[in-house]
């Protein structure tokens, strides 16, 4: 049961008008041209410093954790000169032709630099205070051998760190003034406490649970001002616990009080996300206006606009306008340093917060091991069964196995791994993983292989000899795949140093192990563990297409390659019966059919091997992932022709490692068998299972599935228990929801084949929970 105070704060942050009243939107300015003689990194630091020193302090009544200045309300001004912006816009024209062609065809995207997707070391700030970090930077600056870049990075970092402390100091002053103005003693004490806490942290090491939470939250605000969002929090239950334990032991706080404070912290993380949800804002580059880089307003945007053959997604952040907080992942449970279950009271607070607050950020992940407290897991299963899509479950052992494959991380780091940004594996406070990249379009690469290097008559890939056997066919597919991964990594290795000159994160770099020591910012390679990733899109669409070829062209010889090409080029026009044959009569990934599952395993392993062959500018191997989200499967699907799995031209591609929409026709057992045929730890950057459950689910059912997955090589699972919205969506787009099964005792039917009035009835029924 939420206390009245927490309930009030919750309703405030969930009401846009209330937030807007309390947190005014401000436009802070910075004269770039007047400072054009300075380097971009110093300008960036000055811009962030300007934010820290100028934005208005505000306060939500009743809250005991201070600070509500997310970047949504006070966007970071531009720090680049017009000349520099022009140079950045011109950059893609200089990229070599083959890569531009591949990007034009949306075979991959290049996001030239990373935003977010990092776990700044909050634990370090809690332990040493920002003063400790400032001392480190100052001491590093005494090194006379530093080159100009190194010196400027450290100076920039220093400017931001000092600015950050002015920002928190302004809070202390503001609350001190409020305390003086307070009419009654209770109010005075309330503001004095806030002033005292803000006066101590994050400058100094935290000495209490409240100070630890305050410090961690201030750091979160600061890193988002330096960068954008998608800042994950790492193993929050582990680094907060010592402060909680001490307070409990000393009797200065009760468990209930600690839980309330933790809830406040939790709600802070929802501020920016709620704004996005309420405004329906989309970010990106306006497709019809090539000069709209960084311009954001409501309207239609193409997140993956490919102007000049280059994905400009990254450039939207130049002005950092209206970026929304999301991807605030945090980890709990897992193992401690001695290999014991690490579940503690804070881990339980995490589940309590999900259960009682029911807000969508942050996004907790449970690091599941066979030692994890069963009662804790049961609480999580209960929440999932209730239809709330959080928490996610990650499998620790497989995660460790995956990270070991990278030949980069040490054992201590591997045990301490967490999830970053979305679902990617990384090490808190010491790794740079550039996670969300490439989205290699496997189905299109398949089509190019089918056409011996051509797409719609244009030469796009390698010109190869026409295959005579299945082995030759799939080998050609791998050769094309290798070619495009090679193109991608070369393009990325050229582009990232260029972009790293302009887009910098000096404060965050100071909170990533290795950067101060090497005097190199995180994006340039300063992190102790530094590598990049190649993810792929449309995995099962590609596998199903390959299997179709194997079966009907080389196996049953129902059709020749030449004729198949014609049918696909015509998008199955006049060949509907053939389309239905390949769609309905040939087994798919997800049906638990060994032959298909074996192929999926082979393709995923080959993909991983190919990606790992390629090296970053630092000489580390690229990390493979089967990972995409909704925009890539839609945008890449839109420019990908008909495939021999029965998918029509332009239709979406499959998501993550899930079977294609409509492929799942029978039971969950079969899907689980298929998806666990892949060795997910080979896709160590990220590979997500989206487990969709329908109808009334007992928590035990989720438990059984988790235990089944835990015994296999699975990294990460999301559980969705179907809700009304999904049913409504299924009614509108039946093709995409072929697998949606409704279950009522003894009866089971596919939702989409039921007549509309029955569907209506089920939709009503699902309200009942």
């Amino acid at each position: 049961m939420l206390s009245e105070r927490i309930g009030k704060i919750r309703s405030t942050i969930l009401t846009l008008e209330e937030i807007n009243r309390i947190i005014p939107k401000e436009q802070i300015t910075y004269d770039v041209e007047a400072n054009s003689h300075k380097s971009p990194i110093i300008r960036h630091a000055e811009v962030v410093e300007r934010l820290f020193t100028s934005i208005a302090i505000n306060h939500i009544p009743g809250e005991r954790i201070a600070g509500n200045n997310t970047s949504n309300y006070s966007p970071r001004p531009n720090h680049l000169t017009n000349e520099e912006l022009e140079e950045i816009k011109r950059y893609p024209k200089g990229v070599f032709k083959e890569a531009l062609t591949a990007m034009d065809e949306r075979i991959f995207y290049v996001w030239a630099f990373t935003q977010g997707h990092i776990v700044p070391d909050k634990e370090l700030v809690l332990k040493r205070g920002m003063n400790g970090i400032i001392e480190d930077i100052e001491s590093r600056l005494t090194d006379k051998t530093l080159d100009r870049n190194g010196r400027e990075f450290l100076e920039a970092s220093l400017i931001e760190c000092r600015g950050f402390l002015r920002y928190t100091g302004r809070h202390a002053e503001w609350f001190g003034k409020k305390a003086k103005e307070a009419e009654d003693g209770g109010k005075r004490k309330y503001f004095e406490d806030l002033a005292r806490v803000c006066g101590r942290v994050p400058a100094n090491p935290a000495t209490s649970f409240r100070e630890a939470l305050q410090s961690a939250w201030f750091v979160h605000i600061a890193t988002m001002m330096d960068d954008v969002a998608n800042h994950s929090l790492g193993r929050i239950d582990q680094y907060l616990y010592p402060y909680y334990k001490k307070d409990i032991d000393d009797g200065v706080i009760t468990k209930e009080e600690a839980k309330e404070l933790f809830f406040e912290f939790w709600m802070k993380l929802n501020l920016g996300y709620k704004l996005q949800e309420l405004c329906g804002l989309k970010i990106g580059v306006r497709a019809e206006d090539p000069d709209s880089v960084g311009v954001i307003d409501e309207g239609s945007y193409d997140l993956f606009d490919n102007r000049d053959g280059f994905s400009w997604l990254s450039l939207k952040y130049i002005n950092q306008e209206n970026h929304t907080d999301n991807g605030q992942v945090l980890d709990c449970a897992g193992l401690d340093g001695e290999g014991n279950d690490a579940t503690n009271d804070i881990s339980w607070f995490v589940l309590d917060a999900v259960d009682e607050l029911r807000i969508f950020e942050p996004k907790p992940v449970i690091k599941y091991t066979d030692k994890t407290d069963k009662r804790f897991m049961r609480k999580a299963y209960g929440i999932l069964a209730s239809g709330f899509g959080l928490p996610a479950i990650a499998f620790d052992e497989a995660g460790e196995r995956g990270l070991r494959r990278c030949n980069m991380f040490d054992e201590e780091a591997i045990v301490n791994h967490c999830h970053i940004g979305c679902i990617e594996l990384g090490i808190p406070g010491s790794s740079y993983i550039d996670p969300m990249n490439a989205f290699m379009n496997l189905p299109k690469i398949f089509l190019i292989a089918l056409n011996n290097g051509y797409y719609e008559g244009r030469k796009v890939g390698l010109e190869l000899e026409a295959p005579r056997t299945w082995d030759e066919f799939i080998n050609n597919f791998y050769l094309q795949l290798d070619y495009f991964v090679g193109l991608y990594t070369k393009t990325m290795n050229d582009a990232s140093p260029f972009f790293a000159r302009y887009f910098v994160r000096p404060l965050i770099s100071g909170l990533i192990d290795g950067c101060i020591e090497s005097a190199v910012p995180v994006d340039n390679g300063g992190a102790r563990f530094w590598t990049k990733a190649v993810n792929c899109t449309g995995f099962s669409t590609a596998v199903d297409s390959l299997f179709s070829i194997k079966k009907i062209v080389y196996g049953e010889k129902k059709i020749g390659l030449e004729r198949l090409r014609e049918v696909l080029d015509k998008n199955f026009e006049g060949e509907e019966d053939f389309r239905l044959l390949v769609k309905n009569r040939i087994p798919k990934f997800g049906n638990g059919v060994d032959e298909v599952d074996e192929l999926a395993k082979e393709v995923s392993s080959m993909y991983a091997e190919i990606v790992r062959k390629y090296k970053t500018t630092k000489g580390t191997s690229y990390r493979p992932g089967i990972y995409s989200f909704y925009e890539p499967i839609k945008n890449m699907g839109a420019v990908t022709g008909a495939t021999p799995d029965g998918r029509m031209a332009g239709e979406v591609l499959s998501l993550n490692s899930a079977p294609y929409h409509g492929s799942v026709k029978n039971s969950l057992s079969e899907v689980l068998k298929s998806v666990t045929a892949i060795e997910h730890s080979k896709l160590d950057n990220a590979s997500c299972l989206d487990v969709q459950l329908n109808g009334r689910i007992e928590p035990e059912v989720i438990e059984y599935i988790v235990e089944y997955l835990a015994k296999r090589d699975v990294l990460f699972a999301h559980f969705t228990v179907v809700d009304r919205d999904r049913l409504v969506e299924a009614q509108k787009n039946p093709d995409r929801y072929q697998d949606l099964t409704v279950r009522v005792t003894g009866f089971s039917a596919r939702f989409v084949v039921l007549p509309k009035d029955t569907q209506d009835e089920i939709i009503e029924r699902s309200y009942w929970g």
């Binding site: 509907e576 019966d577 053939f578 239905l580 044959l581 769609k583 309905n584 009569r585 029978n666 039971s667 969950l668 057992s669 079969e670 068998k673 689910i697 007992e698 035990e700 059912v701 059984y704 235990e707 089944y708 409704v742 279950r743 009522v744 005792t745 003894g746 009866f747 089971s748 039917a749 084949v753 039921l754 007549p755 029955t758 009835e761 089920i762 029924r765 009942w768």
Partner: protein, 307 residues
């Protein structure tokens, strides 16, 4: 049917079962995660039946008109002239259908489906064994359902015995309108009986299920204190058995059984309607309302508390 096959340990399996479906990963048909084997053929005629394809002992042809693309391959392949196109519309002359399934085998659109098959015990076991891991962790196993499984007592026994030998938990879902000897045949190899009871009022029972309930009640009473767990399931149908008294009456009958695990209520729903259409049958439950949620909750209290 009537074929003989070599089974495990070279033992001859005389039986093939007349079934229409095997569903895996069910969590609503007995304890844990279960595989459900649906037998074809039922000797009750309940007006609300949600599995109309389970009733006939013969194969059924289902036709989903909205999926038909009009390719006409069924017309060419059917030996009995069952399919025809009249003014662009696919007409199914069911009276000519011999259930051979040739039409369904060429229908890529899956507009035609043949329901019902003779399945050997070995083949069924192979599929049942696929989910051993889930049975193990959840206490689940195999449930025989239907249709009426106990109308094929030998087949039931054979498959259940095989399960028991493998340590698989077993359950039989029955409407109970069978010879008592059929129960006696399966009881030694059955852990749970899921026993459907509609109403104790014989006149009502005859009207809505087509037969007298006397044998059903007699068999139910025979199960008292036997070495098998019993779950009594009441399909809750408005106008038939949805009053407090109706439920309490049934609860009263079985409340004293030492082997009763629980009384479950299964609220009537109309999800089966599209299957009637596909079978070319009239849907007789159109006018029956779906029971409202509060009422179901209240009745569930009676079902749980009063035993």
């Amino acid at each position: 049917m009537g074929m003989t096959k070599r089974g495990e340990n070279n033992k001859v399996c005389a039986t093939e079962l007349n079934i229409f479906d095997i569903q895996r990963f069910s969590w609503v048909d007995g304890p844990g995660i279960r595989t459900v084997l649906f037998f074809k053929g039922c000797n009750l005629d309940c007006i609300w039946c949600h599995n109309p394809e389970s009733r006939s002992f013969d194969r059924d042809l289902l036709f989903y008109a909205d999926r038909c693309i009009g390719c006409g391959k069924c017309v060419d392949i059917c030996p009995n002239g069952c399919h025809a196109f009249s003014e662009g519309r696919h007409v199914v002359r069911r009276e000519r259908c011999a259930g051979c399934g040739k039409c369904a085998s060429v229908c890529n659109a899956e507009a035609l489906e043949i329901v019902g098959k003779a399945a050997g015990v070995d083949d069924i076991m192979e599929e049942v064994l696929e989910d051993m891991e889930f049975y193990g962790m959840s206490g689940g196993g195999l449930t025989l359902s239907g249709g009426e499984p106990l109308l094929q007592p030998e087949g039931c026994f054979e498959i259940l015995e095989r399960c028991k030998k493998r340590g698989i938990h077993t359950a039989v879902d029955t409407a109970g309108y069978v010879e008592w000897s059929s129960f006696e045949r399966v009881l030694p190899v059955t852990d749970y009986i899921l026993y459907d009871v509609k109403t104790l009022d014989d006149e009502v029972h005859k009207k809505v299920c087509g037969v007298s309930n006397r044998a059903i009640i007699r068999n139910l009473l025979n199960l008292k204190d036997r070495d098998v767990n019993l779950i009594v399931r009441i399909p809750l149908v408005p106008g038939v058995n949805d009053t407090r008294e109706d439920v309490l009456e049934i609860v009263g009958l079985v409340g004293g059984f030492d082997n009763l695990v629980k009384v479950e209520l299964l609220p009537f729903h109309k999800l089966g309607r599209s299957k009637y259409e596909a079978l070319g049958l009239a849907y007789r439950a159109e006018k029956i309302p779906v029971p409202d949620r509060e009422k179901v909750c209240a009745l569930r209290q009676h079902a749980a508390g009063k035993r």
